[in-house]
Symmetry: D4
Subunit: 205 residues, 8 copies
């Protein structure tokens, strides 16, 4: 399995059913940890100008609207409301949006991990994409479901990853143009790093 | 590993030794979580009219009778009592019942995960079936045994899955005929979802 | 601290803000465990004909309606909607309802443990009641909040208890009239016990 | 709270509902840990010739017979079958047996911790006894129930203890007559100690 | 222990050594959970116009500056730099600041729980104050240290509490003037509640 | 990976460094759980008359002698003391003993999992054997080391397994000659099963 | 319970059975965490010139010798070998050594928490001392035993504490003579603090 | 995947970003456990005279200097400061240093596991090296990130390992020249082993 890296030029990011109602079912991590990871990932999408696609399942029903942090940070990302398809890949508009990005690497996150994320990821890898599932920017009903979902996806060749690694791989080198943005995002959402920086600059005087 | 999906037409479900005595040995999850998952899976089998086969090991001995929720929900499913075979696949009647379904995808759950589920799953994959092991609708003696059983099955190409993902993959699209049934089952047995729906309909007024 | 027991004649039960929206914030236990405990407690209230009072906070807002299992099991219990008071004891109608029961022992459960349960319990003990807080039939945002809430209540003399102990203390002797009901409730909601009974009766033949 | 110690002359031990069926509901510890602790406590009772009383709840029903290790190790201990009383202290025969021991310190263990142990302990302390609840030689449905039961008992002045501490406090000095027995029991049931001794004697040559 | 409530008129809040360097030693909760709680508490202090005192230990050394969220949200709160006193109560300027508030109820949080919080709390209760220790808005090196610190403080009569309970007790009634602010703070920092509200308002249309 | 089963005719079992001193370093499970699993595996070896080989590392030094339960249950098994080789496969006498069994399936357990078990297992699979690593009858310094050791072995094609599954796979059918022995071993060392049987036979009367 | 502080002038420290063999039974914390805490406490004893007493139980038997870090750091502390007394307070030489210190505050740590620490602590408080039990510089067989031991000691008025709090309370003010020593000990044994300091001094340049 | 072992002649070790600031973000293990593992690995590098390369990311910024234990133990190892490259493999000087070692097996550890370790490991395996990732001598922000990082690396063929296994595989036979050194390192940093040895030598007299 060769290590062909994520770059701002070869990757797109898919936010699948990060809806307010569904997010309240997330119990494989604490909610502050889940939201921190989702927020970090969204801000990376913006910082690296990644093509982003948002999709929802029945957002006018109990599942609720998209988490505001996603739509507010990425106001130009298409939001594709699926009328019934559980696997977003079954929705032609969604697949067309993915194809339109021209990217062959797909970074996928969502709720729930074993349904909304895994189904899209399995379909995408079958369709020839290189797929990364962002486990901490996704969520599900309990830790066991998360573990099983990761095992199923890894078995199928999907790469498991976490939000900080996504940003670091996209950045590549801190000296690249987005370095400042990346540092700020990590400082805000990886709390130890923000503390570290604040301590450092205080010490420098 | 191609993503050839579970459908109501290509899958059968096997309930292996979900007996009352054995179920009291389940300690890899809390019992309410285990029972919730088993119940959800059983109701999916009914809703999607999946061919279902129930088998027991010495059900007139300490292992006890099948969990009532299974036999009551699926009164027409054959119950194959094995006189001694630990691996249900060694029982000719059981294999015949599986073959009679004509399905090539087998959804397996049971107690215990590392014996009753894993042995059938390993035999079935060897016999050419595509096998899904439902880890949360199965149970075993402690978390370590569960972890090892999942690792052994994944290594052999068996797909690990959880009950909600089974239902979602079978449903495919909420607009399909079984959509209402699925929503009701999830509302009853995935408690956050029932709460979500109740809140939503109250808000709609 | 003398051991003056709970009896069907001296106790009332208070369900505080067990609303569908708030219940989706419960993360100190798994949701199936929380719901199992709430359901068991509600059925005890019915079986022992305890005076029961249900109260809600802004049930026409995001907090959502009362869990259906409560209102359906106890259709005659008053449901007191508080227009703004966080501590139900600040609501005159609620206190009047408590006083009207004539009981000096109050069994309290609700969401969240550290606010809705603790505040009522602290006020009730100050008002001279003997108060029992049912920790597993209550819920809150994470385990730490639960631990702190229990410590605060115990420090103040409130008795911590769990749903099975409430039923057992009320029953006192299995030969009392409600013995059959109690056994059935435990069989349904304390899963190991249901399994035990099923195995036993199968063995008896 | 003065430290008036447990001695072989001032203490009796009560085994409450350590039945085979109920023991299969124990999930606050692993079953091997629970059984190890029960076995250690039973053997201490024998080694120190403590008056011991065994009681059961409906032992001809689903709760099952007493754990064989108890009755086999203490063949002369009375076994008091309660026809219906949940709190053993409500059974006159049981209380008479306790009184007959002439001991004022009661060491209590059983299943479940929050019902069978806590109720007897609360009644005994009310009746003027000094009560020790052996938490690891008792068991209950999950960790939360255990925590709440311990908090309730401690609040009431019952002393929480564990099996090794019971033996050590009874022994007092390794040079007392029972020292050899104690060492053997700990070597067998506190596994690290048995390993330690085996290593030591091997090293001594 | 009577239940004399926290109100905006009788309470002051003390932030003890919430410094960026020290905060990176917090491991009794995840950092996102800790920061969420600190932020919530700080915003409550502002919303309820509580007198607030910030103190630091050697903030020009490795301990680092105060967490920016504290000083930015409460720009007028005095920041008392202690030149060496570990227990802030040993610093005359700090005690004077507390006395100047005229409040007899002190809400204390800080890092670390067992030193910076516990020492101040123990001194304050000795000095006649009614003291609340906010455990989740405090942090320490591991879970065991937290547990021991809570036990020591509870033993001494200090009331353990968590950030949401502080806000709810101060608010008293949602109809009070600060109700909107409180709802917004909870919506932002108790993530399930924000999700709940967003879902609700979407459902209302 | 075909499912070619363990049978009493094709398998041998290797006990690697289950020494009393090393066993006191086991912290990935509780010691009672570890010892229960080791004991069960040893008794299976005896019941199925598996060729068994015991090896030790410096058993006259700090590592200590072999756990007595192993040598006492299998008095005829060769005990190969390695003078220095960490990987038992580097010891010619050990390899000769393995070859002499004529078996191509090796069941390996020991302390520590990541060294003594993994090294033998990796060498054996390289040498053409089919290798099963019994994770719960092995032990190591903490849970993380266990997880990593399992991952490394699974990656290399070694089959992870647990002691109950070993016995069940060897037995195949309860009606085979060893059925009684197997039931007794499980009844003694898988505590829930012993309880189940005792309850059952009591119920049968 | 007044807050009368630990000072270098009013406290003595007792190391009870921190022997190498017994230490290998510690499983309520990881061994690195336990050893770190013991080492920190021993170094505090030296830095503050606290009278220190070391006692052992059968140190020429399986329990092993005292941890070398203790005797090497405190070469002048008396080591009282108890010939058989489990509770060190039963040994006249030990009590005489305690009395000779003239201190009324005793800081106690040891293995195991529920026997060696709790028994001494209970006897000392009965004898009129003010007793602090250092839970993380003590150890026992599992987390449950630790929890029960802490509950028993707190119930009896013994103050639970952890090693860092002991040092901080003794130091009082960083400007006191021992400030440098304290900072060095914390830097070495509270790893985050050492990291913090190293980062700081690097930043200062 | 053949088992071609690590030897002192075929392996080099890479310490990636073990900096003081970054180390304070490690929360997937306790800090004492992390530091113990790092220290053990560093001492192995010295004992086996492995070529070692240290690299840092912005060590004059918030990330801080290298952990002193690394540079002090390996004073001759090159320390390659990367001006911006996140993946050390992107730094020509680093790759040249690796190539200069002439070793084809690379042992990698660092902070954080999913970025600094995984990126180097993925690049190195792509470049034809055989790569071992030392998970306990590495660290990251929480357990979930660790699990995902291990899964990603294992999927790519990188071998997961822990520090004790590295030393044991390098040593091969205790009789090799480095045996004494290895024993001393393990005795100091695998605490149970040091205790074992001390007990043993005391017993030998």
């Amino acid at each position: 399995m060769s290590y062909d890296r994520l770059t701002p030029e070869n990757a797109a990011v898919l936010f699948v059913d990060h809806q307010t109602g569904l997010s309240n079912g997330v119990q494989d991590q604490s909610l502050p940890e889940y939201l921190t990871a989702v927020t970090g990932l969204v801000k990376f999408a913006k910082a690296f100008k990644l093509p982003a696609i948002i999709t929802t399942s029945a957002s006018d029903g109990p599942n609720g609207p998209v988490l505001p942090v996603i739509t507010q940070t990425l106001p130009d990302a298409p939001v594709i409301s699926r009328p019934g398809e559980i696997n977003a890949w079954d929705n032609a508009e969604f697949v067309a949006a993915v194809e339109k990005t021209g990217r062959k690497k797909l970074i996928v996150a969502g709720v729930s991990t074993e349904v909304c994320v895994a189904f899209v990821a399995l379909s995408a890898i079958k369709a020839g994409y290189d797929v990364y599932a962002v486990i901490d920017a996704s969520g599900t009903w309990n830790k066991l479901v998360q573990e099983v979902a990761v095992a199923r996806m890894v078995q199928a060749g999907i790469k498991p990853i976490t939000w900080v690694a996504v940003g670091a791989e996209l950045q590549g080198d801190w000296r690249n143009a987005t370095g400042q943005d990346l540092a700020q995002i990590m400082g805000e959402h990886l709390p130890f790093y923000g503390n570290l920086a604040a301590s450092f600059f205080a010490a420098k005087g």
